[in-house]
């Protein structure tokens, strides 16, 4: 079976700054790839190039189909979705409507009504699954930071996308909240999907990812199974500040 996502020689420049430098990656179906690295190493830039918000050089293939010439909505329609480092929601729509919007936005127009009718129960069930059932009619601003993160995850889940791009889904949460998010992701979001997961919490990456890539200054510093990558001295120095002894 071919790769779900393939990146060939992807380069992104902002003027004289190279954010991504000839990056090559291949994600087999079902892979959860962790992306670690210091701030400014190119993690979020990679997601932004994959979704079409930034245009880089090189090739991006989703299920063997070249997508780097497509705009963001076209890429999404082919089966990818993302979450944002700072959660984005429709502030004047309820939690349920936010979820509904994600589910229905790109369904065929004339089917919307019938689909909507039969799936409202399903949307409620999804909210229950993510622990947001009691907040269905609340506005996003009334949610706590962890609830907003859960809403982002629920939204990514209901799109049915094959490829998830998760940009620091536990940022700004406490240890206990991050643990809860980790459980929710492991149980509901990640099974059966291919994903790229950016996270600074190393335990998070270790628990959820089958592969890990460490970026530094837009280049790949290390790639492999999480435990192997974390064992490398240059990775420990970059991520944990441990000095490398000659």
């Amino acid at each position: 079976m071919g790769a779900t996502l393939e990146i060939r020689d992807l380069t992104l420049r902002f003027g004289g700054v190279t954010a991504l430098d000839r990056l090559r990656l291949s994600l087999a179906p079902g892979t959860v790839l962790g992306l670690a690295g210091p701030n400014g190493s190119g993690k979020s830039s990679l997601i932004n190039v994959l979704t079409g918000h930034y245009r880089g050089e090189g090739s991006i293939l989703l299920d063997s189909e070249q997508i780097d010439h497509l705009a963001a909505p076209e890429r999404v329609r082919l089966g990818m979705t993302r979450t944002f480092q700072a959660p984005r929601t429709y502030r004047r729509m309820s939690v349920l409507e936010n979820l509904d919007a994600a589910c229905h936005a790109f369904r065929p127009l004339l089917r919307n009504r019938s689909v909507r009718r039969c799936e409202t129960k399903e949307m409620h069930a999804q909210l229950e699954r993510f622990g947001l059932g009691h907040l269905a009619h609340a506005l996003p601003d009334q949610l706590t930071p962890v609830e907003q993160r859960l809403l982002e995850l629920a939204r990514a889940h209901v799109t049915g996308a094959r490829l998830l791009l998760l940009d620091e889904p536990a940022a700004g949460t406490t240890e206990a909240e991050a643990h809860h998010l980790r459980q929710v992701m492991a149980e509901h979001v990640l099974p059966g999907r291919t994903a790229i997961l950016i996270e600074h919490r190393l335990d998070f990456l270790r628990a959820l990812c089958s592969e890990l890539v460490v970026l530094q200054a837009g280049r790949m510093l290390a790639q492999g199974a999480p435990d192997d990558v974390f064992a490398k001295a240059e990775v420990r120095e970059t991520l944990m500040g441990e000095p490398v002894h000659a």
């Binding site: 979704t51 918000h53 705009a71 963001a72 909505p73 999404v76 329609r77 979705t81 993302r82 944002f84 984005r88 929601t89 429709y90 502030r91 004047r92 729509m93 309820s94 409507e97 919007a101 994600a102 229905h104 936005a105 790109f106 127009l109 004339l110 919307n112 009504r113 909507r116 009619h137 799109t159």
Partner: protein, 296 residues
């Protein structure tokens, strides 16, 4: 019915088209101070169609709406890449360009021995189809109300098919909407075309009731009022901008005791409502509460 009341109600109906046009763009996240331009396209286009070309009235109205839609889409194609104040300025500039162009636009033809058609700053008179066919003011008011109802029904249908919700998504967060598969630029251009069509339809109706139009009637203040109607009445429902028109024309302009102070009271009202209810009287949360109450 009292002729004054018919005249007031007709004006409320006509400006409701303009208000709905600006409202549609507001829920799509854009402020347009230029909807009066499409009203003018409808007025001049529809007027020329009946008075100069001798077209049937329904076809002239459709032509005016089509002109509004087409020009609306053409302007939105580049303008939709802008947002916020830049979009507002672009629409304002286009409307002023339209008004200035109408000041020098002459298209007069011999109709039954009289030169008929737009004559630059002197305006465009003799749009007499309504009077020549003997349509009573009350009947014309019913026609305005019927077409306004048709537009509101079309908006309600769009809401049923999730279209309005998707436009609101684009308006609230275009980046998120794009990430959920919505082609933001197309939505913005589509909304501008629909808004142009609504304004153009209103303009065509207005020209045939007034029988005379001139460029000065389509000034910046008309566009500012169009936006203010939605902001006062509320952005939660299509009835919001109509409520705004009712407050301005129905209350302030038509009550003779208040007429002299209209602009002062109206300006104060806009400021007050923007502070107390930034999304207008019938805002999204009030509409959601009413819907929840109705479901019980």
């Amino acid at each position: 019915m009292d002729p004054f009341l018919i005249s007031v109600l007709s004006n409320i109906g006509l400006f409701s088209f303009l208000a709905l046009s600006a409202w549609l763009l507001l829920i799509g996240g854009e402020i347009s101070f230029g909807q009066q331009a499409y009203f003018a396209f409808g007025a001049y286009g529809g007027g020329i169609a009946t008075a100069v070309w001798g077209w049937p009235f329904p076809l002239a109205l459709l032509w005016g709406a089509g002109l509004g839609a087409g020009v609306g889409a053409l302007v939105a194609w580049p303008a939709a890449r802008l947002s916020g104040v830049h979009y507002a300025i672009a629409t304002l500039a286009f409307a002023e360009l339209t008004r200035a162009s109408l000041n020098v636009f002459r298209y007069q033809r011999d109709v039954d021995g009289y030169l008929t058609g737009p004559d630059g700053a002197n305006g465009f008179g003799d749009i007499r189809w309504v009077y020549e066919t003997g349509i009573a003011p009350g009947t014309y008011l019913a026609l305005i109300a019927g077409l306004l109802f048709a537009v509101i029904t079309a908006i309600a249908l769009a809401s049923r098919f999730n279209l309005l919700a998707q436009l609101r998504m684009v308006g609230e967060d275009p980046i998120l909407a794009g990430m959920q598969g919505l082609r933001v630029l197309r939505w913005k251009v589509g909304a501008a075309a629909a808004a142009g069509a609504i304004a153009g339809l209103g303009g065509g109706l207005y020209a045939h009731l007034a029988t005379y139009v001139e460029p000065a009637q389509f000034s910046v203040m008309t566009g500012v009022h169009a936006v203010a109607y939605g902001l006062i009445g509320g952005l939660g429902t299509a009835l919001g901008p109509i409520l705004g028109v009712l407050i301005d024309i129905g209350l302030l302009e038509s009550l003779r005791a208040l007429a002299a102070y209209r602009m002062i009271v109206f300006g104060g009202l806009v400021a007050l409502i923007l502070i107390l209810r930034p999304r207008g009287i019938l805002d999204e949360s009030l509409v959601a509460k009413v819907r929840a109450w109705a479901r019980r």
